[in-house]
């Protein structure tokens, strides 16, 4: 009897000890997250309650949810939201399709395949700034590749209301292709060889092996790439800043939310805070919705 009681006491004590240790180990991460993520997040919501003064130097005025309502119903915001969503739609599916296509090519066994793998994944080592400068030069109406090829547009591509967003999307797809390629390649490698061999013996053509065996088994990877890709797309900033500055025209045809926030920050910090909260909620909803919707269709069981 006494032994049992003693055991229990000991286990309760070790539990407390373990909790102490757990908090100790979590502390560094919690401090960093608290200072650089949670505090700014909450403070940002609070900033959104204050309307910025028309002239710098005057005090901000508390307006409660009025500013949220005003900003979120403004045409500026809706236009920017439209551009952001369009940008995600342009980049995410294309990027995944291309990454998957290249991964399937590089998954074959042929001479020199390693060279292709290296080339395909190389854009991982390319920063947004480098990619933007490369494409900025290629698309330059005077010295770029397009005029050299004889393709000219008026106005030039990056100032063209119809094509500017597409051009930026192309840069983005190119720049993220390395990552998508690596993701898809590792996904392909996790498809067991004997399943594909079984399908070969069972009479499936290469095409139907891909659609009926590989792709379903790849769905967790694709799902992951969609979630990550969408979140990246919603947070795109560098390419826009370097290539179009949100332009052309007003309201800007490439004025995605992050760039909109950035430009408003110096002009109207209260408005920028509201926009930032909106972006946060959008990203959160997107992630949750994707997890809920897609997870049901994904086959994880092996």
């Amino acid at each position: 009897m006494t032994a049992v009681v003693a055991d229990r006491v000991v286990s309760a004590r070790t539990k407390w000890k373990e909790r102490g240790l757990a908090s100790l180990l979590l502390a560094p991460a919690l401090v960093i997250f608290g200072v650089f993520v949670f505090y700014p997040l909450i403070h940002n919501v609070y900033l959104g309650f204050y309307r910025s003064p028309p002239f710098p130097g005057l005090p901000s005025r508390y307006v409660g949810f009025d500013q949220y309502r005003d900003v979120l119903s403004s045409t500026d915001f809706l236009q920017s939201l439209k551009v952001t969503v369009l940008f995600a739609v342009l980049t995410v599916p294309t990027g995944i399709a291309l990454g998957l296509g290249l991964a399937v090519l590089a998954h074959q066994q042929f001479r020199g395949v390693r060279i292709y793998r290296t080339i395909f994944s190389s854009t991982v080592a390319t920063s947004v700034a480098v990619a933007s400068v490369i494409f900025g030069t290629l698309l330059n109406p005077q010295v770029g590749l397009l005029p050299w090829l004889g393709v000219t547009t008026h106005p030039p591509l990056l100032q063209n209301p119809t094509w500017a967003l597409v051009a930026v999307a192309v840069v983005t797809v190119w720049q993220t292709l390395g990552l998508t390629f690596i993701l898809m390649s590792s996904g392909l490698q996790s498809v067991p060889d004997d399943l594909l061999e079984a399908a070969r013996v069972d009479g499936a053509s290469a095409w139907s092996r891909f659609w009926r065996v590989t792709l379903p088994l790849l769905s967790p990877t694709i799902f992951f790439a969609v979630v990550i890709g969408s979140i990246f797309a919603f947070q795109t900033f560098g390419q826009i800043d370097l290539l179009t500055q949100g332009g052309p025209l007003k309201p800007g045809r490439t004025n995605v939310l992050t760039y909109f926030i950035y430009t408003e920050l110096s002009r109207d910090p209260g408005k920028a805070a509201v926009l930032a909260v909106a972006l946060f909620l959008l990203t959160l909803m997107l992630a949750l919705a994707q997890v809920r919707l897609l997870e049901r269709r994904v086959s994880y069981d092996r």
Binding site: E197, R200, V201, D202, G203, R302
Partner: protein, 363 residues
């Protein structure tokens, strides 16, 4: 059903030879077991029949057709993989009907065939489950159902029982034999397990290092092994093999080994003499040995292992070589360190050429 014939088939991977000049004819409706240790080339041979590997040399025939350049899907064979290779995202029904869908069999006929295959393997109630929800034995049966559903010319099975627990393996072994008989199926079955080979095969083909050692019915492989490798590979515990020298005793021959002499039968003596051998390996199955006290080869008992129904007595010859004697459980078991004599009937002795390992057939 059809036959499978390999003629001079060789498979090289860069510098290594996986299968070396293999010729083998599997008759229609035959259950042939490819037996050998891991890495002996038996799986490669099977994969070449399936078309998953192409032979470097030689021809492969299925039915009356050379299939060297025929795609796996057009060879009309079905394969059961060691891992079962079930499609994890499909239900049992979808898995079984996969080969039929691939061949565009009409839906009505398909349902009928799937129901038949599922019923014959007791899977009818599991058709809507996913593989992850099945036990190992059930998955194995799904893999079999997927193979039998389209009545191919031949079944290729790559260690299909090795992922089952011991009890289920014994049961499934019997079921497979029944299934083979019921379907009159031609089966090429790869295993490293000699018990599976002995119990299931009509004939066993023993492979070692890519080279075919012997093809014969199980009983023959056991009683008349072609060489030392086969003799040592088949049987549990394996055949005792001891190095010795041929000596003349009176008007006949005997093999002198550490601890004594073993006289040969006149037939075997003639054959050994004709071969002009001196250094030989003497082989005798554990169950053909008996322990005595007066005449025989002297040895010391090292370990006594009781298995309940029988008893294995490991004895050491004076030079340290181990010899195992298999006794019935009720026989008087000796104790370790006892001095004993090993006795065998001359008819039970095998003599192998110690250089080539070939068994000398009695003349």
């Amino acid at each position: 059903m059809g036959s499978v014939v390999l003629e001079g088939v060789t498979k090289r991977f860069n510098d290594t030879i996986a299968v070396d000049n293999l010729s083998l004819a599997v008759a229609d409706e035959e259950f042939l077991v490819l037996l050998g240790p891991s890495g002996c080339g038996k799986s490669t041979a099977l994969r070449m029949i399936a078309g998953l590997e192409s032979p470097t040399e030689g021809t492969i025939r299925i039915g009356d057709r050379v299939v060297n350049d025929v795609e796996p899907k057009d060879r009309d064979v079905a394969m059961v993989f060691q891992s079962y290779a079930l499609y994890p995202h499909m239900t049992v029904r979808r898995n079984i009907e996969f080969p039929l869908r691939s061949r565009r069999v009409p839906a009505v006929e398909r349902d009928h065939l799937v129901a038949d295959a599922a019923e014959s393997l007791g899977l009818t109630d599991l058709l809507e489950r996913k593989p992850a929800q099945l036990s190992g034995g059930q998955r194995q049966r799904v893999a079999l159902a997927r193979a039998i559903v389209r009545r191919p010319q031949a079944f290729l099975m790559d260690e299909p029982l090795s992922n089952l627990d011991a009890k289920l393996r014994v049961q499934t072994r019997a079921e497979l034999v029944e299934l083979q008989r019921r379907l009159s199926a031609t089966i090429v079955y790869v295993t490293h397990d000699q018990v599976e080979a002995m119990t299931m095969g009509h004939r066993i083909a023993v492979l070692e290092a890519g080279v075919l050692q012997q093809v014969a019915p199980p009983r023959e492989v056991y009683a008349e092994p072609a060489n030392l490798f086969v003799a040592r590979f088949i049987g549990s515990p394996p055949m005792n093999t001891v190095e010795g020298r041929v000596v003349r005793v009176a008007d006949s021959l005997a093999v002198e080994i550490s601890g004594g002499r073993a006289p040969l039968t006149p037939q075997l003596a003639r054959a050994v003499e004709a071969a002009g051998l001196e250094a030989v390996v003497l082989g005798v199955r554990p169950e053909d040995l008996r322990l005595g006290h007066e005449t025989g080869v002297a040895a010391t008992v090292a370990v006594v292992e009781s298995l309940g129904h029988e008893c294995h007595v490991a004895c050491r010859l004076p030079d340290g070589q181990l010899v195992i004697v298999r006794q019935r459980a009720e026989a008087d078991a000796p104790k370790p360190e006892d001095s004993v004599k090993l006795i065998a009937r001359p008819e039970a002795l095998h003599v192998f050429d110690s250089e080539t390992g070939t068994r000398i057939r009695p003349a």
